[in-house]
Amino acid sequence: MLKNSLYQFEEPISLGFLKSVLSFPERNAVFVAEQYYSYQRLWELVDFIYRQIPTDKTYQTIGIYCNNDIFTYASILAVNLYGAAYVPLNQKFPAVRNKNYIEQCALKLILSSSESVELTMISKDVKVIFTKVDNHEITKRPFQFTSYKKTEQPISYILFTSGTTGIPKGVPVSHSNANYFFNFFLSNYDFNEKDRFLQVYELTFDGSVFSFFMPLLVGACCYVLPDEGIKVFKIPEYLKNFNITVVILVPSVLRYIEQYIDVFLFPALRYSFFAGEALFYELVMRWKKSLPNGNIHNFYGPTETTILCTRYEFDEKKSNEESINGIVPLGKLFEGMSFMIVDENNQPIDKGELCIAGHQVISGYLNNQNQDRFFIRDSVRYYKTGDMVSLNKNGNLIFYGRTDRQVKINGFRVELGEIENTISNYTKTNVVVMCNSSENNMNKLIAYIETKTINENSLIEELRTFLPNYMIPQNFIPIEKFALNLNGKIDREKFKNI
């Protein structure tokens, strides 16, 4: 049984939401699009959407075409209660990408609170149900704390990450994976109904699963950052105006607002979590001054190990001693998780690739892709993260960098190979994409193209039909002829020195 729960690990996490409806019907559950929704009201919307799902067949996966509105969030809960895996589709992604997600997940049903030309285009042969309704159209029925599952399939949600070949990889996280994850927080933190969580992420990013579900499991309120304007500048505004008590951010956010950090003060903030990228000690020390009552915790976790799986509690003195290359440690694994550090032959070594095992590790990628990312040793199944680490004398994992060509851009995982393949398909030339760190430690992408001239505008326009904005390089540099190494392959080392 989960701590603070009435249900088992294999049940959908939204049963925790139902428990909050029972306990706190009048409390605010969500603030989105400038409106509050109580637990009771949110339940009514969830139940209404749940009842729109056709009963003539059973759906294993259901797509959600995401908008920044209550109907989208209610749809996530409805699909989760139904027992199907929800698959968020991001309107900001190119249509081709969304179409690929639909095909990989074999989606037969999509819930959407808006109509659009793109949705019509990508949803050919897929049933679409519109979830946005006026108040008077919502028929209510008495609340019951019971199972609403129509399927026993085990997956809670499917998110996609960048794939080296150019095809995104589907990561199916099970109900059990998710429950073990939330159980860590229910067991180790004092979150309660008075907390106010800030949800800043796209729903296609797994940080959103924590930011949205965690408050609902404890009767707290989830404040959803608006999508208009420059989101990163709305974060301090919301932290202050709504007295947010819990927030999880990607470290890049601090870089964007770095020059203003010294004027911020958030006395209500109890927990400031970071995840998704390397966290730099000097930046945390400046941020710390804005949180007189807050605790700063650094987390780590690939999507494949369910959002987060290590934790480090920041302390000014201790962290100064433990930070290597200025990077705050990743900390220790969550309870029920274990790790190994291995060399290229999967043999134990002091400094090498971090491999993780335990209840939060997924069973495998969608459609059995990349099975080489998993291996078994001594009857334990590990996931190879691709991150270089070692263990310090305090038992904390220290991060050094990647073993491969994957980088983080604003917390998003990016395989440089995916960008190279996409550009190359268009230019029909060799392409090398590098990721450079600017003075303030923000990653920028530079594409070197083996050609005399580049029509940047056409190239960018073409790339935007395949890649999300964060994967489009900031600079395109033509090089007439790439240098080759002794094996006759492109000498990538030369690009590091440009």
Binding site: E228, G229, I230, K231, V232, F233, K234, P236, E237, Y256, I257, Y260, V263, F264, N410, M442, E456, N457, I460, R464, N469, Y470, I472, Q474
Partner: protein, 80 residues
């Protein structure tokens, strides 16, 4: 004064977005210009500050929902 500010902002926008044909109006916002994301926004602010030789406070930056808002703040600052 506002027209002059707009003209100078146009120069900045064209440099930052690397688009010599970009036309901005007071109603232009991140919705209208592709690639105007958080990173570009920081670059834009830094470039505007350099061009006009001013330094924006966070409260001022928070008011920037469109080009017209930027013009208004610059105008106020230049009149001080």
């Amino acid at each position: 004064m506002s027209n002059t500010i707009l003209q100078n902002l146009q120069i900045v926008f064209r440099e930052v977005f690397n688009n010599t044909t970009l036309i901005i109006t007071p109603l232009s916002s991140a919705k209208d210009i592709p690639l105007w994301d958080s990173l570009m926004h920081i670059t834009l602010i830094a470039s505007i500050e350099s061009k006009f030789k001013i330094s924006f406070s966070f409260n001022e930056v928070m008011q920037f929902n469109n080009v017209g808002d930027i013009i208004q703040v610059i105008d106020q600052r230049l009149k001080r």
